[in-house]
């Protein structure tokens, strides 16, 4: 079940723009939210060990059984984000590239550089497709 959240991080981002953007994804079977005060962005960052950051341009996968308790949003099974001009993944999401020099310091220890921003689509497919097969087969991890 996809959950899409619009968050104001760039010039021009506003509720109205989010409303317009959300129309493009109306066919997706899931709810859409407006995180105008970046509360969820903060919580997502905390959940992946990057407290102090506001998470955005980020894609997170949670397995069946994952629950958001009073302790907060659980860490995802896999996550990719665009940060610092590269694509970073939480540990174990994808193999790290050799050069980790562009890994944002705030993510040191919790994520790896896994590829170039231009390859985001392919990298996301590398994460999503195996998970789709496993979940379709009834596996939860």
């Amino acid at each position: 079940m996809p959950i899409v959240v619009w968050i104001p991080m760039l010039d021009g981002d506003a509720l109205r723009a989010a409303g317009e953007a959300s129309e493009r994804f109306r066919d997706l079977p899931g709810p859409q939210f407006w995180d105008g005060e970046t509360k969820l962005g903060t919580e997502v960052a905390r959940s992946i060990g990057a407290s102090g950051w506001t998470a955005w341009d980020i894609y997170l996968f949670y397995p069946p059984g994952a629950e958001w308790t009073d302790l907060g949003l659980p860490p995802p099974e896999a996550a990719l984000a665009q940060a610092g001009g590269v694509v970073v993944g939480t540990k174990g999401t994808l193999p790290p590239v050799a050069d980790q020099a562009r890994l944002p310091k705030r993510m040191s220890g919790s994520a790896d550089v896994v590829g170039e921003q231009a390859n985001l689509e392919a990298l996301l497919a590398q994460v999503a497709e195996p998970l789709a097969r496993r979940y379709a087969a009834g596996g939860d991890r």
Binding site: M1, L10, D13, A18, E20, F33, P64, A128
Partner: protein, 66 residues
């Protein structure tokens, strides 16, 4: 261009988490406005939605609308 990429990403990712849902809107959905729930008050609504589908895989993305 970016919107096309994002849509492609969402479709790919949604495929991993589609469970019982369908990506084909019915006639009424095609004419209704997309409901955009505001999280400014609290995160309770997104938390409830996340937990309501606990038995399924879930995909969460945070995107800038610009």
């Amino acid at each position: 261009m970016k919107r096309v990429l994002v849509l492609t990403l969402l479709v790919v990712a949604a495929g991993a988490c589609k469970s019982k849902a369908t990506a084909s809107p019915d006639a009424s959905a095609a004419t209704a406005a997309v409901k955009l729930s505001d999280l400014s008050g609290s995160l309770d609504s997104v938390r409830a939605e996340f937990n309501a589908h606990r038995r399924e895989a879930r995909f969460l993305t945070l995107l800038s609308p610009a």
